[in-house]
Amino acid sequence: MSTRALAAWSASGLVIALSTSNPVYRGVVLLCALNLLLARGRRGPGLRLLLIGIGIAAATATAVTLLLSHSGSHVLVRLPSAIPAIGGPLTLEALVFGLATGLGIAAAMLAVAPLTLVSQPHELVDALPPVLARTGAALGAALNLIPGTVRSAAEIRDAQRMRGWHARRVVDWPAVAVPVVLTAIEGSLTLAEAMESRAYGAAARTHLSIERWTPTDTLISVTSALAAAGFLTLTLTGGAPGWFPFPVVTVPAVSVPAVLCCALLVLPSLWMRR
């Protein structure tokens, strides 16, 4: 699947996840995105880290909503009102709304994840239209610095350890943090120098590798666009109702056409699993 088709799919998933408050539609997007990631067969540390990050973000959203929103009819527990901000009733409705918010965050992050986990930074850059080529090359170079910085952080920690450094207190960390930051800055400057020295920005860029665009890419892009457009239309016309658990938690209403729109996003993973 080409990077542009993948980008179209991610954009559609993101539009659906962010345009509704209904956890059912968000859940369908989340399942489609997860299915796509697993279908690509890349289950390395990148995916693990991403899932951990999503879990933390979703849990944080749930906790914050539960602790700060004191609305709702079913009180689970009551914190002393003397505690600033979080003091007061913690309700079932706030908990459910927090979970739905976390689900939305997870669905949005997972919708974009294939672009970063499945594609290389330079594939993303190449997928940009010519008008964004210069910005894209700079972006790609910047993305390329990230793994280098992570690696240099480990090297610096090792090198300082050999000089007697131990991470016992907060004041010990500058011995590693300062060279990591300075090395990253110097690395960025050297990279910028290297790019200038290799005629970056001298002419309209061409590309060594040209991504093949197949009929499947067209199919995926069109169905993704249809999914997003259909869902947005249904949302705007009241055909895909949102959901709000206050003042009393309710079961979300589900529209079959809206679910089908979301389910169109499963197409790339079905194609990959063939």
């Binding site: 240099s152 090198a159 000089r163 300062v178 290297a194 790019m195 001298a202 061409t206 060594l208």
Partner: protein
């Protein structure tokens, strides 16, 4: 019209009190020109004027006239000069723009808008010229320092520059890489390219260079070629007393990054008073072996033993260590952390850093930084010293002071392992030479030091 024409050139870095280039006059027409001079003399600054990074990227105050290929540097942006001026920096690790070898080699051609078929042909040629065609599909992050240096050169050669500017291009190359680079330089010069090369390892270019320039006091002067140096030869008569005590030992050690071993079942040891030089091609596993001995990289199998005592480790990138405000403070930090007695002064003087002891180490030239990092790791009388390419960017005087520091450590019963391609250093300090090849270690005779 000369390729380079500098007249009365002045340059001062932003916020600097003194100028680096001072009424510099230089005319270069064609051929291979070698620029020499002590670390910090301004060679890299002069090279950066050639492609306009100075003043366009670095700012500062520039005066006088600087014309490159007929164009006034001050009025021509670097990206325009780059159509005809190829530049390879001292730090190959930081020059890769794309993550794969093939794509990175093509980056300059993409910027010039070269058609794809022509681009493929030029990338093929450049990779083959630099001897890295077999690495074409590899990730840049998986390359050794020397391989990256060759990739940086390939990326520039693919652009077919009329002027090639190389800053210490041999600093990390193995003998095969050096030969490939020399052949590439020969071919480029024969094809009409002018090459300006800053290099401390004179013996590598002595037969090819048409002119020699010395940079000192902000100016360049024409000098006669250095006297030819006989190749270092095996010193079969160098008597090395048997070590009284083992300092480190590997028992059937396999090691590598991830689960892929680079070194296989190594049995190797080093004793007190020994200086082991690790040689081998780029990517042969020298850094992996050093890190394994240091204990920074757990072996995949086998066992590593080390005598108790402090281990000093100099990584390939000296900037990794430097975080204090002055060179002196760097040394003092190590002394404090290792609870060692003594001051920083003697070591700084030994390494020729007395004059820059109170400067920020990150403001120094590459060679001076390397020495500052060395001072930082050697402080506090370590019993085992592990140095990864320690002569990078060093001039002859600095190499001599490094050799004397290593010899001093060995004389007081310490042990050293030095990974290097620098045959002069090997000849000067090694009591044993171990070559790594295809994951195995092969003991060789040490090289005999030769006079320069």
């Amino acid at each position: 019209m000369g390729t380079l024409s500098f007249a009365g050139l002045h340059y001062t870095y932003p916020d600097a009190a003194t100028c680096v280039l001072d009424a510099l006059d230089l005319e270069v027409d064609a051929g291979l020109v070698v620029l020499t001079g002590a670390s910090g003399s301004g060679k890299s600054t002069l090279l950066r004027v050639c492609n306009g990074l100075i003043p366009h990227f670095h700012g500062g105050v520039i005066g006088g006239s600087a014309r490159v290929l007929g164009r006034e540097v001050v009025r021509t942006p670097t990206r325009e000069l780059a159509r005809d001026v190829g530049f390879v920096f001292q730090d190959p690790e930081l020059q890769a723009v794309y993550p794969s070898v093939e794509r990175d080699a093509a980056f300059g051609l993409e910027n010039l808008g070269i058609a794809r078929t022509e681009m493929l042909r030029r990338v093929d040629d450049a990779l083959a010229t630099c001897g890295i065609a077999h690495l074409r599909q590899r990730a840049v992050t998986s390359l050794s320092g020397g391989e990256r240096q060759r990739l940086a050169l390939a990326g520039v050669l693919a652009m077919r520059p009329r002027l090639l500017v190389l800053d210490e291009p041999f600093s990390q190359l193995d003998p095969e890489g050096s030969r490939a680079l020399l052949a590439a330089l020969d071919a480029a010069v024969r094809g009409g390219t002018t090459a300006l090369v800053a290099e401390h390892r004179h013996h590598l270019v002595i037969e090819r260079a048409g002119r020699w320039l010395l940079m000192a006091g902000g100016r360049v002067v024409e000098i006669s070629p250095p006297a030819p140096v006989e190749p270092a030869s095996p010193a079969s008569d160098r008597s090395t007393p048997p070590p009284s005590e083992l300092s480190w030992q590997l028992h059937r050690v396999s090691a590598g990054h991830g689960r892929v071993p680079v070194l296989h079942d190594l049995d190797l040891c080093g004793g007190s008073g020994e200086v082991v030089a690790l040689t081998g091609a780029n990517g042969s596993g020298k850094t992996t072996l050093l890190r394994t001995i240091a204990g920074l990289l757990p072996p995949l199998s086998g066992r590593v033993e080390r005598r108790p005592g402090r281990i000093a480790y100099l990584p390939q990138n000296p900037s990794a260590l430097l975080h204090r405000a002055t060179v002196r403070a760097e040394v003092a930090w190590t002394l404090r952390r290792t609870h060692a007695a003594g001051g920083a002064g003697a070591l700084l003087d030994e390494l020729g850093l007395g004059a820059v002891a109170d400067r920020d180490p990150r403001d120094l030239s590459t060679g001076q930084r390397q020495r500052a990092a060395l001072a930082a790791v050697l402080a506090g009388n370590p019993s085992l010293v592990l140095l990864d390419e320690p002569t990078r960017g060093m001039d002859a005087a600095a190499r001599a002071s490094l050799a004397s520091a290593i010899a001093r450590i060995a004389q007081r019963g310490g042990s050293a392992v030095v990974a290097t391609h620098d045959q002069r250093l090997v000849a000067a300090v090694a009591t044993r030479v171990v070559e790594l090849r295809e994951g195995a270690a092969r003991e060789q005779l040490p090289l005999m030091a030769v006079s320069r």
